[in-house]
């Protein structure tokens, strides 16, 4: 369970990114966070694994306080939380498999990482993660040779290789084209349904948010302004979150393609 208690984040420049956020996210939920850019979505999601430290209040994951964790505790905590990013954050000059194996860094002895010799069990785990996102045939290809959608799936495999219980996705489709966006969102949905992980996704597009979010949290200026199911969130709710009427930029505007279309290599 993830709990935000009065959590606030003020950046060194004085910008307040989160203001007194109170939230509870239960195990196995699929949560979508929506809001304008700058509303504090990325900060909220990074507060969960401590990439951003809350400056006031507390964030607890399974009862453990994130801001008060020591370096070692924080690393242990992070190893149980997978994360993917808007820019994929792959090491482009190395193979897909090496990228996925980065998900095993917490468990691997330092000398093994230095030599690049991972235990066979970890390689097996990485291969299985690649199979789950259906990109295993690219295991020995350089990450830079993949398309954006493929790179994001490798990033998902990297997070899966951690065998996490919580899965964070920070704007995972912002750099992808519409059909690929649906492929990635469906991968996340399957992770939630089939593996039972708690999934928290930041999204800008409200149609995607409504389609995939079982629970929707609206952020505006660092404050939670909506928290409810996807069905409840109609246009007026979105307008209150965005603080303006909706524009074409706020929807992806492409229906979920059928399975064959999703297979078209991006």
């Amino acid at each position: 369970m993830i709990e935000f208690a009065n959590a606030s984040v003020t950046y060194p420049g004085g910008v307040k990114a989160l203001r007194d956020v109170d939230l509870k996210i239960d195990d196995g939920e699929m949560v979508v966070i929506v809001g304008l850019s700058g509303a504090g979505k990325s900060t909220l999601i990074r507060a969960v694994n401590g990439l951003v430290k809350v400056t006031g209040g507390d964030v607890r994951v399974d009862g453990e306080s994130v801001p008060n964790a020591s370096d070692a505790e924080l690393r242990a905590l992070r190893s149980k939380i997978g994360m993917i990013f808007q820019g994929f954050n792959l090491v482009k000059r190395t193979s897909v498999l090496n990228n996925v194996l980065m998900g095993r860094l917490y468990e691997t002895a330092t000398w093994r990482t230095l030599l690049g010799r991972y235990p066979a069990a970890d390689v097996e785990l990485a291969m299985r993660a690649l199979e789950r996102v259906e990109i295993v045939e690219k295991a020995y290809v350089r990450a830079s040779n993949l398309s954006g959608g493929q790179q994001q799936r490798v990033a998902i495999a990297r997070a899966l290789a951690q065998e996490p219980t919580i899965f964070l996705a920070d704007e995972p489709v912002a750099s992808l084209d519409p059909p690929t966006s649906h492929v990635v969102m469906r991968d996340l949905q399957r992770i939630n349904h089939e593996l039972g992980m708690t999934v928290i996704v930041n999204l800008h597009f409200l149609d995607l948010a409504r389609m995939y979010g079982e629970r929707l949290i609206g952020l505006r200026d660092g404050e939670v302004v909506f928290d409810g199911s996807g069905e409840e969130a109609d246009e007026s709710v979105f307008e209150s979150i965005y603080g303006r009427s909706l524009t074409a930029d706020d929807v992806l505007g492409e229906p979920a393609p059928d399975e064959d279309a999703a297979e078209v290599a991006p």
Partner: protein, 305 residues
């Protein structure tokens, strides 16, 4: 929707690929290993000497620095001043001579044959180490700082010409075309199309070379070309370690001081005065990339120098 997501997306399960053999990498390791063994044999290193080296170096460090000879400070400063003067004049000579050469060497503003020929000349000049140049030049100008200055000047033409021509090659073509369009001559093209764009970086390279030349001029004295090098050689030879240590410290401190000043001016020239006054400076100052080192690193990586 759940029906959609639980349906298998593919029926033919993709095969896991075979791991690549990694032959290139292994071959690389073997080559390096063989080279190392060959070199070890050819260098004729005596193992016992090597084992004793750390203790001896520590002992020398003690002798050099624990009992500083303050009365040698003035002489050391005098020697270092001469080294700095040699570096300054040497850099100036090289700057003046390398500027036209760099224009000739730049592929975008010079003819194909001319640029290739000039490049090889610059490479050739660089291939003479300063100390070797001194040995030749000393026969004309005699022992003393003038010989050292000229050696520094000649050697620096090579590097400065190469780096400056890189700066010229990275300019925007637009202004060149504009000068051509109004019917400018070659000299006008250089003066109004090239130099305004490339000059800040080139001047920064001059300053950077000055920093390097200070280091170089500090040792030219070992072959009699003036500066603090002669003091170092002699004090070490006659085991006046206190004086040698003083000279060593003076070299380090003066070099670092000039580096700091010159580095600051270089950054200012490249980035303009405004950036220096950035408010949340602390984190920025730590991460700040030295533009000239970055340019040098780029040139080194791409095999340009």
């Amino acid at each position: 929707m759940s029906a959609v997501t639980s349906a298998p997306r593919r029926t033919d399960k993709p095969q896991r690929p075979d791991a690549p053999s990694g032959f290139g990498r292994k071959a690389g390791f073997v080559i390096v290993l063989v080279l190392a063994v060959l070199a070890w044999n050819a260098a004729g290193l005596q193992l016992d000497k090597l084992v004793r080296a750390p203790a001896r170096i520590l002992r020398l460090a003690e002798l050099l620095f624990l009992w500083p000879q303050w009365d040698a400070f003035g002489i050391a400063m005098q020697g270092m001043l001469e080294s700095v003067q040699m570096a300054w004049l040497g850099t100036l000579i090289a700057a003046v001579l390398s500027l036209p050469l760099s224009l000739l060497a730049a592929r975008n503003v010079s003819g194909r044959f001319g640029s290739e020929a000039t490049r090889q000349v610059l490479n050739g000049i660089r291939a003479f180490p300063e100390l070797v140049l001194v040995i030749l030049i000393v026969t004309v100008f005699g022992l003393g700082p003038v010989t050292g200055t000229i050696a520094l000047g000649i050697h620096s033409i090579g590097t400065l010409g190469k780096l400056s021509s890189e700066a010229v090659e990275s300019i925007d073509r637009g202004p060149l075309e504009a000068v051509d369009a109004v019917g400018g001559t070659w000299a006008q093209r250089m003066r109004w199309g090239v130099l305004p764009q490339a000059m800040p970086e080139i001047v920064a390279f001059w300053l950077y070379r000055f920093e390097i030349n200070i280091r170089a001029s500090a040792v030219l004295g070992v072959v009699g070309a003036g500066g603090i090098g002669a003091q170092l050689t002699e004090t070490l030879r006659y085991k006046e370690f206190g004086r040698a240590g003083m000279a060593f410290v003076v070299v380090v401190v003066v070099t670092l001081m000039i580096d700091a000043i010159s580095g600051r001016i270089r950054r200012r020239i490249i980035s303009g005065a405004a950036d220096d006054r950035d408010v949340d400076g602390e984190a920025k100052a730590q991460l700040e990339v030295d533009p000239i080192i970055a340019a040098e690193a780029g040139a080194v990586r791409d095999g340009e120098v």
